[in-house]
Symmetry: C3
Subunit: 177 residues, 3 copies
C-alpha cells in the first residue's frame, strides 16, 4: 500500500493554531495544488485566505468547494502531478451532521477513498476534545464524531502532524519505519 506515490498527510491542531498555513506550505513546496474547501458559507477570514491563495497562486492553485461529497471530490481530483489540500474535515463533519448523514459510514468511505487515492492528499482537521465536556448535547456528539474521524484518518495516513502555535510535532511518519 505505501509505495512512493501513496501519501496521505493529516494536519491536526486547535483553532488559530497555524494548521492551515502549515498544510498550505506542505503543498506549496511540492508545486501545484488543488484546494478543496468544505465550507459552505465563507467567513471574512476564509474569504481573505481564498483571495490570498488566488493572488499568489498563478498556475499553482485551483479551488473547489465541496461541503458534502468529500470522498467523491478527492476521487475525481487526486492525481500524481499535484497535491490535494482538504480544509477542513471538521467543517465537513459539521455539514454532514446538518444534512443528517450517517457519520460512521461517511468516515469509513473517506478512509477507503484515501487508501485508493491516485495522488497525494493533505487533510486539515481540528482537535476539539481537550476542553471541558460541553453542556450542549449536539456539541458532545460533534466532539465524539470528530475524535473518531481523526482516529480513523490518522490510521490510514502515512504522516500525522500536530500543530500548535504554528509549530509542527510529527506524531506518525511511515517513512520512519
Amino acid at each position: 500500500m505505501n509505495n512512493n506515490t501513496h501519501s496521505v498527510i493529516l494536519v491536526l491542531g486547535g483553532a488559530r493554531s497555524g494548521k492551515s498555513t502549515y498544510a498550505e506550505s506542505l503543498v506549496e513546496e511540492q508545486g501545484r495544488g488543488v484546494y478543496i474547501a468544505t465550507a459552505e458559507i465563507f467567513d471574512d477570514e476564509m474569504e481573505n485566505r481564498v483571495s490570498l491563495h488566488k493572488e499568489r497562486r498563478g498556475e499553482q492553485w485551483t479551488t473547489i468547494e465541496e461541503p458534502l461529497d468529500l470522498p467523491g471530490a478527492i476521487e475525481r481530483n487526486a492525481g500524481p502531478d499535484h497535491m490535494l489540500l482538504v480544509d477542513c474535515l471538521t467543517l465537513w463533519l459539521s455539514n454532514l451532521m446538518a444534512a443528517e448523514k450517517n457519520i460512521d459510514e461517511e468516515t469509513e468511505f473517506l478512509a477507503e477513498t484515501l487508501l485508493q487515492a491516485k495522488g497525494p492528499v493533505v487533510l486539515v482537521s481540528n482537535e476539539v476534545g481537550l476542553g471541558i465536556v460541553p453542556d450542549n448535547k449536539l456539541a458532545r456528539k460533534f466532539r465524539d464524531h470528530t475524535g473518531r474521524l481523526n482516529q480513523r484518518i490518522a490510521n490510514v495516513a502515512t504522516k500525522v502532524v500536530f500543530v500548535a502555535a504554528g509549530l509542527p510535532m510529527i506524531m506518525k511518519d511511515t517513512k520512519d519505519k
Copy 2:
C-alpha cells in the same frame, strides 16, 4: 523505587482520542488484566466496551467497579502477575466531587498508593484544560482539580503517554534515564 517490577503508566488524552484503546493494548500485550472501572452509571458506549472486554477476555480480563475508593481497589488488586487498568481518573474525580470528598487528600493518597503498588498499573485520564475557561464555576473547579491530579500522577508515574487521534506521544519514560 524504580525496580523492574515498579511500573505506573499514565495515559492522557482528549475525548475520543483513543486513549482507552491504547491503554488496553498496553495491558493485552502483557497478558492478564484487571479492569477497574470508575464509572457508576455506564452509558451505551461504556456498556459496549465492557461487553467487548467480556467477549474477548477469556481468562485475560476481570472487571471491577469502584467509583470512590480507587486507592483501596488498587492496593487490593495490584499484583506482579497481571496489570491493573484504571479507566478513568476523570470520572473518579467527578465522583469524589459529587461525594464532597477532600480532593487534595485523595489525590495524595492515590499517588502514595501507586508508589507502593505491588504490581503494574495503567491509568487513563482526560486532559481538559486546553479550551476556553468554562462559564460554569463547578466546571472551572473540576478543570483545576483534574490538572493538579494529572500533574501529581504524572510525577509518580514511570511513563506518561499523551494520545491524540489514536497516536501515542511519549512525554516521560524513566527507562530513558
Copy 3:
C-alpha cells in the same frame, strides 16, 4: 539575531498544566529573576504563588505588576544579568481586550520588543483552542486572538515548550539547528 545572549522562551500549556511552575524553574536554575505579573486582580492561588515567590526569593526575585504595557515593562526591565518571567500572555490579552486596544498592533509590538530585548525573557501562555467552539462571541474572539498571539510569539522565540501534566515537550529550539 540569535547570538548567545538572545533568548526568548515561550512556555505554552493548558489550565493547571504546571506551565508556570516549569517556567519558574527555568528562571531559578539561572539565578536572579524579575517576575512580571499581568494580572490586575489576584485570585487566591495567584496571591499564594506570589507569597511563595516572596518567601523563597531572597535576593532572587523582584515582582512587577503590569496589566497593559507589557512591551514597555519588558524593555525597561530586561538585562543580561537576570531573567524576566512574564506570567501570563493570556491575561495580558484579556486586559487589552477589556481596554479595547488594537490586538494585532499590540501583538506585533510585543514581538518586536522581544527581538530587541537586552536580556533573556520567559513568557507563559495558555493554549485555549483545543476544545469545542465556544457559544459566546467574545470567547471566540479571545480564542482567535490568543491563537494568533501564540503563533507570533512562537515565531520570534528561540525556544518553545508545551507543558502537559507538568511535563515539558520541546516544540522548537533554535540551538538544535
